[in-house]
């Protein structure tokens, strides 16, 4: 009878396509929307993710996210270095500057000034050049997305992509010369601004209008010590805020979630999409069973047990759900891959999200199967004689 159940599902090609396409579309909504949201959210703390070496971030108490920064006194760095349990501590400058391109156009960019001695906080993956080249005069490293995107040299012809910035090209920052010595991979920031890496002392030079430059102190706990405890101690002994990297990520995320109206709205849309997607999926399958109710009734009169009918409906639901979800997730991934141009946020359809949305589709087809089955099991077999 299970084979019969499959034939009922696949038998009417029009109806079957309707079910599969319907579930696939719902799956697309269920997968894609949250993945856009999650991708956006993960970019709220991309700086913390990219700088992986330090396990403690020290900052002004008023700083809410890794996207904003408030200057500290340089002396604070020495205080942190002096606290017991701190293995090392280095300065990080993070600021927003205006870059003048070769053709005279201006672009905002984020500048990260790294500790001169260790270059801690630098990009993890270099596409061209090396991190050590930052020690050359006027050296800056540009992130790949920025080099290809906003900092690219415009050809002047509209619609044509610019020529990417390359090693050896020069820029002007606050009327000071900067030479590109490397191109690096970095997770784009939330605002998708280009990122320029340079040394801390040179950043001082570029940002000469700012009085204080120390944005974050990056520290590491001594081996064997709990970074959380060390962070607490730093916070106690200075009047600064200190978080472990994970705490800081969570804080950034929380702040963005609660304070960005755009994110809130988008989150709401995602939720609505999810509910609509699941409801549509359930409805489609429920209707399918209703269409076949008469035949289930006939089977019932002819001696099919409840267990058998339940098995048939479950099989139909699981198969329809699986195929719809498979097609939906495939289409989503293919679409994301085909639209990504390499210079903005990449849509990440991660495994956890796939599992979660797969689970949602599974739950919804099971729920639909439950209601369908209830309808079938409650069916009076005597109804079969009614025409």
């Amino acid at each position: 009878m299970y084979r019969i159940a499959l034939q009922m599902l696949f038998g009417d090609r029009g109806k079957y396509l309707g079910i599969i396409v319907g579930i696939a579309m719902s799956s697309i909504i269920i997968i894609q929307q949250p993945s856009i949201l999650l991708t956006m959210l993960s970019h709220t703390y991309s700086l913390i993710t990219d700088i992986s070496l330090p396990d403690i971030w020290v900052m002004d108490k008023k700083v809410r996210t890794s996207e904003d920064s408030r200057a500290l006194l340089d002396t604070q760095l020495y205080r942190v270095r002096g606290i017991a349990g701190v293995e090392w501590a280095v300065p990080l400058y993070k600021g927003s500057l205006t870059v003048r391109l070769e053709n005279g156009e201006l672009e905002r960019a984020i500048m990260l000034g790294l500790d001169d001695a260790t270059l801690i906080g630098g990009p993890g993956i270099m596409v061209e050049g090396s991190l050590a080249d930052l020690r050359m005069p006027d050296a800056v490293i540009v992130d790949e997305a920025g080099a290809r995107g906003r900092l690219a040299r415009q050809t002047g012809r509209p619609g044509e992509p610019g020529i990417p910035l390359r090693v050896g090209d020069t820029l002007e920052i606050n009327e000071k010369r900067a030479t590109v010595v490397g191109i690096a991979k970095a997770t784009p920031t939330f605002q998708s601004q280009p990122i320029l890496y340079t040394t801390y002392s040179r950043a001082k030079n570029y940002a000469s209008s700012e009085r204080k430059l120390l944005s974050f102190i990056l520290a590491r706990a001594k081996p064997g010590l709990d970074p959380e405890a060390v962070a607490r101690r730093i916070a106690q002994d200075t009047d600064l805020a200190a978080y472990t990297a994970d705490e800081f990520k969570r804080r950034s995320l929380d702040y963005m979630l609660h304070n960005s109206a755009m994110l809130m709205n988008f989150g709401f849309v995602v939720l609505v999409g999810f509910v609509v997607g699941t409801a549509v999926t359930g409805q489609i399958f429920y209707n399918f069973t209703l269409d076949n109710l008469r035949y289930f009734g006939v089977f019932k009169a002819m001696g099919a047990t409840d267990r058998m009918l339940l098995g048939m409906i479950l099989l139909q639901a699981l198969l329809a759900g699986l195929m719809g979800f498979g097609i939906g997730s495939g289409v989503t991934a293919a679409f994301a891959a085909s639209t990504w141009k390499g210079n903005e946020m990449k849509l990440e359809v991660g495994l956890p999200l796939l599992c979660a949305s797969g689970l949602a589709v599974l739950l919804i087809v099971l729920a639909a199967a439950f209601f369908s089955a209830r309808k079938v099991l409650r069916l009076e077999p005597a109804e079969v004689f009614k025409s």
């Binding site: 006939v298 089977f299 009169a301 001696g303 004689f385 025409s387």
Partner: protein
């Protein structure tokens, strides 16, 4: 459950059935006594709403009576658990409906195999036996056809093959010919009767169609929830009506 060839297939005593409660209650059966013998074709006739469908539903074990008893092949249905009753139906009863009720996306062969599959027969064996039954109703060349491609009479013959596929001792039919024209209906009845009688089955056929009365061995006249009288069919030859 052993039944000798002479003991009745169906024994109903004092069956009552009321639908609904209070002002809207309908007394569909008001004390029905009825026996059906093996190899007998009994027709149940009477005006619309007199309780014919209700009665064969109880006889077929798909509806519970309020009072009275209904015994099939010596088994009182009321003594079976719901699950046992379902399995009992599957094994002993064949159904023919007015609207055929063939599953449209299955082939004729697969439709006929359904009662066998329900009874746990393996698919290949079920299809093999279904083919034999399709042949017996004269549609042996339509194995892979779906019901939608057949005429009404052909569909009903497929439905008859399905009702007989698992070799049930009792076949119940509700208005099997009322969706068919007279000549087609007569051919369907021919098929039904020849197959039923041959295997010593009992048949209960509800009908409005007086033109098929001659096929009956016995006719039970119902009105208002009771059986008024049962008459043996006149000895005139059924074939002359066909």
């Amino acid at each position: 459950m052993e039944t000798s060839a002479t003991s009745p297939v169906v024994v109903c005593r004092g069956l009552t059935k009321t639908y609904g409660v209070g002002d809207t209650a309908t007394r569909a059966l008001r004390g029905v006594d009825l026996d059906v013998q093996p190899g007998e074709l009994l027709m149940l006739v009477g005006p619309s709403g007199c309780g014919k469908t209700t009665l064969i539903s109880v006889i077929a074990g798909i509806l519970n009576q309020d009072r009275g008893s209904c015994t099939l092949f010596g088994q009182d249905l009321a003594l079976l658990s719901p699950r046992e009753r379902v399995l009992f139906r599957g094994r002993h009863i064949g159904f023919v409906f007015q609207a055929f009720n063939l599953v449209p996306c299955l082939t004729c062969l697969e439709n006929i195999a359904v009662p066998l599959l329900i009874n746990g027969v393996k698919r290949n064996e079920a299809l093999r036996r279904a083919a034999r039954h399709l042949d017996q109703v004269g549609l042996g060349d339509r194995l892979g056809t779906t019901p939608g491609q057949l005429s009404g009479g052909q569909q009903q013959r497929v439905a008859i093959a399905r009702a007989l596929a698992h070799d049930p001792g009792l076949v119940v039919c509700d208005e099997p010919t009322s969706a068919l024209d007279h000549a087609t209906g007569a051919r369907v009845l021919d098929t039904l009767k020849s197959l039923a009688v041959r295997d010593n089955r009992a048949m209960v056929i509800v009908t409005h169609d007086s033109r098929i009365f001659p096929y009956a061995d016995r006719i039970a006249h119902m009105d208002d929830g009771i059986i008024l009288e049962t008459s043996l069919k006149p000895e005139t030859d059924a074939r002359s009506c066909a």
